[in-house]
Symmetry: C2
Subunit: 95 residues, 2 copies
DNA sequence: TAAAGTAGTTTATATCATAAACTAAAATAA
DNA sequence: TTATTTTAGTTTATGATATAAACTACTTTA
């Protein structure tokens, strides 16, 4: 009846991040922070969880002398998102 | 961009219960337990949370000498579900 | 009348989410 | 030049949450 929902994606901030990355493919820490209204600390933690799961990759560099963290979604992340959306449908259609 | 998701509904078991009740209007404890594959303990806790929020009402009676717990969705519960589904859409459409 | 079954509830634990505190370097002000 | 502030994050302490295990209370069956 109801398929299990991927616990990594069934969380607001992580889902927001993946949702953004699915469209943009790549995004900077600051961009994600702005779009999600998350605190830096929370975002940092959740990004690392997504990276540990292999859903995104995190690249660290510098821009104008400041650290720059860039996140990119992986194929695994895209598939996980598609699966999650598909599983959720059954919960949402109230029929 | 992303609206906040009702934390009461953004949880698998509670969402399953509400999703079922939205269609059936009313359901017995055992029915919900079967459909959701939840343990009785977990279901009991989550039903009470939904009742505390005013999303469902819980009626206790007896049938064939055994206790019978019947759950019914409220108008507030229906509205909350509709709101949740609508808020979620923004997260799911990857665009 | 003891054992097993029904229908749940309560609670202890383990996990998780989050903000507060912190790090480290750069830019700016004094 | 030496503080102070700002940028860009990370680490961690805590409080909340989800869940299963343990329990309650009653009924049926052996």
């Amino acid at each position: 009846m109801f398929k299990d929902l991927d616990p990594l994606l069934h969380q607001q901030l992580r889902l927001s991040v993946i949702s953004l990355l699915v469209s943009t493919k790549e995004a900077e820490f600051g961009f994600l922070k702005d779009k999600t209204n998350a605190t830096a600390g929370n975002l940092s933690v959740q990004l690392n969880k997504l990276a540990d799961a292999g859903y995104i990759t995190i690249a660290k560099s510098f821009r104008d002398n400041y650290p720059l963290t860039t996140c990119k979604i992986t194929q695994q992340g895209i598939s996980a998102f598609e699966n999650y959306v598909s599983a959720l449908q059954d919960y949402l259609k109230s029929k």
